[in-house]
């Protein structure tokens, strides 16, 4: 594969990227401070007698309304025709609205936004963000990722929604989760983490968002190339860069560990949290903790999570030179996924370590033969490189919920 090897040709300069990332992170935090419980959200068209959303241009209101009606592509095309300057002006207005609404519960602006289809506007900007900033790689080519102006618009629209709609969370939680997963599916790990973090700033204890953040960090660590273990020939500068890169990977894994630990604490029956926690603990060198966590994960969850737990437990034990115990777990993984190649490779290697080259050869040959008949994914394959766009599934559900 080559998409880990080639730098992205992002349309954003590093500075702009950093600025937007900062904005997405900080503005949500700054804007959303309290919720007004007095108004119910409605997606109905703006009533003639209702106060108009003066901050929003007429054409904007129009194409958001089109989005509500189900003309998603058309609305997206209209928004796409807006240049950056216009969009920036819109963002500025929205930012002012957040300040106004927050300070004045009875202002006409607030009433106007109660009736304005904010959810549709957020979804529309979300679609624009996906269209512009997440370009899923094809055939392992490098992804093109970033954070665009629509993300900034979403931050303010979300803040307004949270201020005017007590049920905002029913929409915003899955929306941010959907965006995070969309980014992950597009191999945009940074953006995946940013969207999850943005959601978590509003809903700090949301377990799916916590998991999304952990997965983004775990994946990011995997796709950050480690420097070679040898001392670089280039001297102190390169050595420092290598050390920084190693620290970066470690901090990503540590961030993932904290997220999974938090999720597992919040929902002790969430098997994925324990499986992933066990893996990152192993990656961080916490072998005993990893073993305990993975063994605990075998008491909950389904066959796929048990399969991964057995694989990871096998690896932890193999590294501790407990080869016969590792073999037991690899065989358990094979029993759960008899057509997956991975556990056969793992079993073969541990047999090799035990001095059984014939057994190693037979196990590997059996695995290569078995996988020819596989019709479903080996759960190990999408563990780090997701194969399904469940983010889009979430967003599609939200879109369907807009129907008048």
């Amino acid at each position: 594969m080559s998409w880990r090897t080639v730098k992205l040709e992002s349309s954003l300069s590093p500075r702009l990227f950093a600025r937007r990332a900062f904005l997405v992170g900080c503005l949500v935090c700054a804007a959303v401070t309290r919720i007004d419980a007095g108004n119910l959200f409605q997606t109905a068209p703006v009533a003639e007698s209702a106060p108009q959303v003066a901050a929003l241009p007429a054409d904007y209101r129009e194409f958001v309304q089109q989005y509500v009606s189900g003309d998603h592509d058309e609305a997206l095309a209209f928004l796409g025709n807006w240049n950056d300057e216009r969009l920036r002006l819109q963002i500025k207005r929205l930012k002012e609205v957040v300040v106004t609404i927050r300070s004045c519960a009875q202002c006409p602006e607030r009433q106007a936004f109660v009736r304005f289809p904010l959810r549709a506007a957020i979804l529309l900007h979300g679609d624009r963000e996906i269209q512009q900033e997440f370009r899923p790689p094809t055939n392992e080519q490098p992804p093109t990722c970033g954070v665009g102006l629509s993300a900034e618009a979403i931050v303010h629209l979300s803040a307004i929604l949270k201020l005017v709609d007590p049920k905002a969370g029913e929409f915003l939680r899955p929306f941010y989760l959907g965006m995070s997963r969309q980014a992950r599916w597009s191999h945009c790990s940074v953006e995946s983490a940013l969207w999850a973090r943005s959601g978590l700033r509003m809903y700090p204890n949301d377990v799916p968002l916590t998991m999304a953040l952990g997965v983004a960090l775990e994946t990011g660590a995997f796709f950050t190339l480690a420097p070679s273990p040898s001392t670089p020939a280039g001297g102190a500068v390169l050595a420092r860069q290598g050390a920084q890169l190693k620290m970066q990977i470690h901090s990503l894994e540590e961030g993932a560990r904290q997220a999974f630990e938090k999720a597992a604490r919040a929902d002790p029956n969430l098997a994925e949290a324990k499986v992933r926690l066990g893996r990152v603990q192993w990656r961080l060198g916490m072998r005993d903790a990893a073993r305990t966590t993975l063994e605990a994960s075998l008491k909950i969850g389904d066959a796929d999570s048990h399969y991964l737990s057995h694989l990871f437990l096998g690896r932890v034990l193999e590294e501790a030179s407990k080869w016969t115990e590792a073999e037991t777990h690899y065989r358990a993984a094979i029993a759960l996924q008899p057509l997956a190649e991975t556990p056969f490779v793992a079993l073969s290697h541990v047999l090799f370590l035990q001095g059984d080259p014939e057994g190693a050869r037979d196990a590997l040959a059996a695995g290569l033969e078995a996988t020819k008949h596989r019709i479903t994914y080996d759960p190990w394959l999408p563990y780090l490189v997701t194969q399904t766009n469940d983010g889009e599934t979430l967003l599609a559900t939200l879109r369907r919920g807009l129907s008048p």
């Binding site: 594969m1 080559s2 880990r4 090897t5 080639v6 730098k7 992205l8 040709e9 992002s10 954003l12 590093p14 990227f17 950093a18 055939n139 392992e140 970033g146 945009c188 790990s189 940074v190 990011g220 796709f223 950050t224 190339l225 480690a226 420097p227 070679s228 273990p229 040898s230 670089p232 500068v237 390169l238 860069q241 920084q244 890169l245 970066q248 990503l252 501790a320 030179s321 080869w323 016969t324 190649e341 991975t342 490779v345 073969s348 290697h349 370590l353 035990q354 001095g355 059984d356 080259p357 050869r361 590997l364 040959a365 290569l368 996988t371 020819k372 596989r374 080996d378 190990w380 490189v385």
Partner: protein
Amino acid sequence: MTLVALALGVFLSSTAQDQPRTPPVFGVEVENVYIDAFVSSHGVPVTGLKATDFKLRDNGTPQVIELAASDTHPLLAVLAFDVSGSVDRAKLTALRAASHALLESLRPEDKASLFGFGDDVSWAVQPTTDKAQVRQAIEKLVSGGGTTIMDALYAALTLPKSPGRSLVVLFTDGFDNLSWLDWRQIRSVAERSNAVIHVVSLQPPTGPKPAVSSSDSLRWGIYSAANTSTLEFEPAWALRQIAEATGGRYWEAESLDRLKAAFTEIAEAMGKRYILRYAPEGVTQPGWHKVELRLKGRKAEVRTRAGYWVTAKHP
């Protein structure tokens, strides 16, 4: 005489499971060690050397060596080709042409085997002297999926049975993203094999192109491309380590044109290797045996495996 030191053999010891153990060692008893070496000067193969032109140390102890005729040792060429999604039509076409050049260089008695790897590793052709069968299988390779370099190398080292010399040529255009095994495990297996591994990487992972960029979402925004242009990353370094541990090489083919040249050079180098034989003296201890091979009185690059493993004798 037996080719025992470099062949996978029988593991003879067992220890308490709860204690961390050193990797097992293979082989039964070292009667003769065969060392496969390639000598070049300024990139040009040096031929016509005699046993007396070499000096060899086994764990630091000088050994008496003799040359074995290479034609008495048929070669097994194991091709392991990356057919992940990034290997597009142009790359596949170039790979086919390059591999045909390599197959043509094999002698009738030499065997070839083929693996393809994407999401999984597939053993397309088992060892055969029928090169046409291998060519046909190469023509049928279809790309798609992720990349399992380490698992493929493991399969290439483990599955084909070779009583003698084995050449593994692994082609890839990028990095591993799906293997279960890691480079440390593969290096350990490679050290215990009798294979010479060559890795041909179409997109070299070192150099400015793949360097960390702050606009790259996978790099988490720390570095710019400029200041990491010479920082070598672990995946390329690891493949280099594995290849060099066996006396092989890591080739960076910077273009499709260079691919064929790399394969041709590998084939030529295999034809011009020296097979040195010695009965170890004064170095009977089990474990890792470091091999140092040099030329007497002249400067040249000598490529050979870093060493070999010997097991303890069974009581």
